[in-house]
Symmetry: D2
Subunit: 292 residues, 4 copies
Amino acid sequence: MVTPLTARDTLDIAGLERLVERLVIGGVSGIFVLGTTGEAPSLSHRLRREVVEHTCRFVSGRVPVLVGITDTSIVESAQLAAAAADFGADAVVTSAPFYFPAGQPELREFIEELLPELPLPLMLYNMPSLTKTSFSREVVAWALGQEKIVGLKDSSGDLVYFRRMRYLAETARPDWSFLVGPEELLAETVLLGGHGGINGGANLHPTLYVELYQAAKAGDLTRTRELSARVMALSEAIYQVGKHGSAIIKGLKCSLSILGICDDFMAAPFHRFHEAEREIIRGRLGELGIAE
Amino acid sequence: MVTPLTARDTLDIAGLERLVERLVIGGVSGIFVLGTTGEAPSLSHRLRREVVEHTCRFVSGRVPVLVGITDTSIVESAQLAAAAADFGADAVVTSAPFYFPAGQPELREFIEELLPELPLPLMLYNMPSLTKTSFSREVVAWALGQEKIVGLKDSSGDLVYFRRMRYLAETARPDWSFLVGPEELLAETVLLGGHGGINGGANLHPTLYVELYQAAKAGDLTRTRELSARVMALSEAIYQVGKHGSAIIKGLKCSLSILGICDDFMAAPFHRFHEAEREIIRGRLGELGIAE
Amino acid sequence: MVTPLTARDTLDIAGLERLVERLVIGGVSGIFVLGTTGEAPSLSHRLRREVVEHTCRFVSGRVPVLVGITDTSIVESAQLAAAAADFGADAVVTSAPFYFPAGQPELREFIEELLPELPLPLMLYNMPSLTKTSFSREVVAWALGQEKIVGLKDSSGDLVYFRRMRYLAETARPDWSFLVGPEELLAETVLLGGHGGINGGANLHPTLYVELYQAAKAGDLTRTRELSARVMALSEAIYQVGKHGSAIIKGLKCSLSILGICDDFMAAPFHRFHEAEREIIRGRLGELGIAE
Amino acid sequence: MVTPLTARDTLDIAGLERLVERLVIGGVSGIFVLGTTGEAPSLSHRLRREVVEHTCRFVSGRVPVLVGITDTSIVESAQLAAAAADFGADAVVTSAPFYFPAGQPELREFIEELLPELPLPLMLYNMPSLTKTSFSREVVAWALGQEKIVGLKDSSGDLVYFRRMRYLAETARPDWSFLVGPEELLAETVLLGGHGGINGGANLHPTLYVELYQAAKAGDLTRTRELSARVMALSEAIYQVGKHGSAIIKGLKCSLSILGICDDFMAAPFHRFHEAEREIIRGRLGELGIAE
C-alpha cells in the first residue's frame, strides 16, 4: 500500500481511509503497509507508527495487516514491531539492514537477535536491489527452523531464486507463504505453486490483481493469460512515465490522486509528477478503462 | 569517531570521554561523529542525539564537532541537525539518502529541500558503495553555489573523482574543504592540495594521522612516505582480521577495548570479535608499538 | 550445447557426435552451439569453426542449428557467421560486445553495422550478467524493424524484462521467437506465451525439457508442475556442487562424462571437477534416475 | 598507445609510425600496445599481430614494447604472445579473462596455465570495471613467487588496492613494477613510491606526462602540482566530450586526427566523433596550447 501524504510529515488520513476501503472491498487477502511502495524508509518513525495505527483502525480486522519494520537500527525495528502489535497488526516484515551490507552470517545473527523482540510473526523480505544483500540459501534454511518466521516475500525479480527457496521449504515448512514482488510475475508464480503477490498496482486496480490471483490459483490458463496481459498493459502505461527508479511509486500516487482517492505528495527525496506527466497518466488511465 | 557502546542501545559514556580526550590531546583538527565508522545508521535516533550531546560536552569547544545526519528520512535528518545545533556542534554532514537510489536531479532537490532546515553549515559526504549514489559533477556544481554548503568528504576511494571535484571547486569556492575518506590515501591527497582526511584509524592512533597530515601539508616528502607506510602497516594489521565489510570497525573497536579506552560492543547487525580474533589484534597492536 | 573437448584446443569429435544424437533423438527443436554453456568465448576461433562444421554434419538438417557468434571484434563475428553459413547452419546469435560496455546508441549501431555482414538470420542474446549491457527497450524496438533479426534469447533471469520485450513485439513482429535462458523458468515462460527455452540441462536429459515444453505449450498444468519440479531437482542436484559461477557448466560436463557421452575437459579458465565432486555428481545422477 | 585505423580491419600504418615517433621523441620509458585504449578486444586477431609487428619495427629497440594479450581464449592469448616474441617485443600484459568471471582460484590457475606458454615476461593488468574480476591479494601473493611475472598495472582507480599490493610486494619482489592506470593519479602514485603510469594522454602530449613523472620521481612537489594540474585540465577538456564510457578513446583519437598524426577511425562498437564534437575538441586543444 502506498502511504498517502499531504505534506512532508503529514499523513493524508482521509485518503488512507478511502484507499483501505478500496483495497478491502476489492478483495485483497491482506494489506502490507510500510514497504518499499509505501516509501517507509523516507518517513519519520512517528509517521510510520501513525500509518500503522490508522490502517489497523480502518481495516478493523477484515483482512490481516502486515507491517514493514525494515530499518538500519534494530532498536527502531523492534520499537515499530511493538507498536504494530499494540495497534492490532497481524505480522511484521523485514528486509536486510540496508546501510551496511551484512555478511550472510551477520545477517542470520541480525534476524536471530531481532526475533525475540518481535511480538508478531515475521515474514522475510528479499529486496537485494535496495538492500545490497540477498537472503542466502543458508540463511533461509536456518529461518525455516524458526517457528516465528512464516514466509518470504521476494522482490528480487529473480524467479530462479524464488523457485530455489520454495524448493528448499517444500518439505521443511509447507506452511510458509511465498509471495512475489514484481506484480508482472504474479501469474507465473501462482501458476507454478507460489502463494500470491504483494502488488503495488493493487492500490490502483485491486480487482484486477485479485482476479488474476484467483484465475491462476484455479489453473484457468486462458483467463490468467488475459488478465496477466492487462497487468502488463497497466505496467507499461503507468510505471514508465518517470525517468528514475521512483517512476513506479510516482505513477501510482499520481493515478490515485487523479482518481480522487488520495493526495500524491511524495516523501523526499522524491516529488510528485509535474502537470505534463500528470496529463499523460490521466490519458492512460482512460485508455486502460480505469475511470475517475 | 567510533561510537562506544556497552549494550544495544546504551552509550559507553565514560569510554566516549576517554576517546574524545585521546583525540583532542592527539591534535586532531576536528571530530566527526555519527559517520559510517560511528555506525550511525545502526543506532536509534535517541542514541544518536545522546552521542552528540556528550561529545559536544566533552569536547567543550576545543575543536569543531561535525555531526553526521545522514538518514533515509529528511524529517529525521532535520531533527538531528536541530539537536546538533542545540548541543553546540559546528557543522552537519549528510550523504545521499540510501534506501531509494535518487536520480541526480532528485538528489539535488533533496539537498535543496534539506538546506533551509539546517541551522548549521553542511558538508556533503560522498559514499557510493553504501548509498548507491555518487554526487554527480552537476550536483556538486550546483552545491558550489550554496553558501551553506562548505565542503565535500569523499569516501569513494576514487581519487579521480576527488580530483575532478576539487578542480571544479578551485575558482568557484576556494573556501570549500575537501576531505578524503580512506585513510590510506591521506598522504596522496594532501600532497596534491587536498585539505585533510576523516580517518577511522585516528581513533586508535591520533598522532600518527595528525603527524602525517602535517608532514604532507608541509611538503616533507621523506617524512610523509615514512608515516604513510606506517598507516599502511596499521591498515594491514588491524583491518584485515574480519571477513566481511565490517572488519574495519570491528578491528578499531577491538583495539580500543584492548587499550582500555572503551567497550567494543557493536550495534547490530554486527558483533564484536571473538576471543581468537581479539588475540590476533592484541599481538598486532604490540608489533605496531601501540601499547596498552 | 556444451562443447566436448579432450584437450585445450582439441574437439572431442566422437563425443560431439554422441551428444548431437542424444539431443536430436531426445526431440529438441533445434541446437544452439557456441553459447555461454558452450564456453564459446574461451575457445580459439579455429576451434569454434570446427564445432560448427562437425555439428552441422552430425545434425544433417534434422533440426535447425543456431551458432553463437558473440565476440568483442565485429570482424571475428562476421567471419564466424560466414563460416556458419558455409557449413549449413540456420541462424546466428549474438550478444552485446562484452569488453567495452557499449552505450545503447552504440549498441544499436553495432548491430546495424553487423547485419549486412550476416548471411543468416540473427537472434539477439541478452546476457547482461556477462556482457554488462542489456538490450534496451529502444534498441529492441529498433530491432523489431529489421527483417533479418528474428528473435531474442533472454538469459537475464529477469522475467519482467522478458515480458516487457514480448509485449513490445506482440503486434510489431508476431514472428519473433522469445526464448528464455534459465531453464528453471521454462515452465513459467511457455505457460504465459513464450516460445521456448535454450536449456543447458537438455544436454544431460533432453526428453525432460522437451516434455516440459510440450506440456506447458499444451496448457497441461498438472504435468507442467510435475516436470518443472523435476527440472528444479536436477538444477539443485547438479548445478550447486561447484563454488563459482562455472558450477553449472562443470556439473553438466561432469555428468555427461559419467554417462559416457563425452569428455569433461573444460576450456581455461576452468577445470573439470576433482574426483570428490565427481562422486557427488555420480550419486545425484543415480538419485535423479539418470542412468549411466 | 591508441591503435590508428583507417577502416574496420585496416591499420593506419603511416599514422602508427608518426605516433610511435611522437612517443619515443617525447621521452616515454616504454610503449604499451593492445591495451584498453588500444581497443585491443575490438580488433581482429590478424590486426592485433599487425599492430605488434609494425610497432616493433618503428620503435626499433629504442624503448621496450609491451604487448597486451588479454583474451577470453587462452589459445589466442598464447598465440599472440608467441607472435609478440617473434616480432621482438619485450613483455606481454594480461588482464583476467573477461567473459566468464573467474573465481580467484580459477584466476590463479588460468595464469599458472598461461605462464609456460609465454616466451616473454608477463605483467598483470588489473581492470575490474571491464573484466569483472580483480586480482585478489591471494593471487597477487602467489604471482610474487613466479619469476616470469614482473609487475602489475592497476587501472582499478582504487589507490587503496594499489597501495595494498605494493605493500605486499615490498620485500618479496622489490623488482616488480607497479604502474597506475588512470593518468590523473600519476602524480600521487609516483610521489608515494609507485613506478610510473600507463597514460592514454601521452598519445596526445607525451612530454607532459614524462615531465610529470620526472618531477614526481625527483620529489619536486611544486612542479609536480603544477604539471598534475595540467593533466587534470587536459582530462577535463578532452575526455568529457562524449557521453559514454568510450569518451576517452574518442577524445584521444579525435585530437590526434586534428593534430594530423593519425586517423580517428574507431573499431566497432564505437564511432569517431561527429563534426560538432570535433569542433569542441579543436577549440579545447587550442586552449590547452596543443598546437596543430
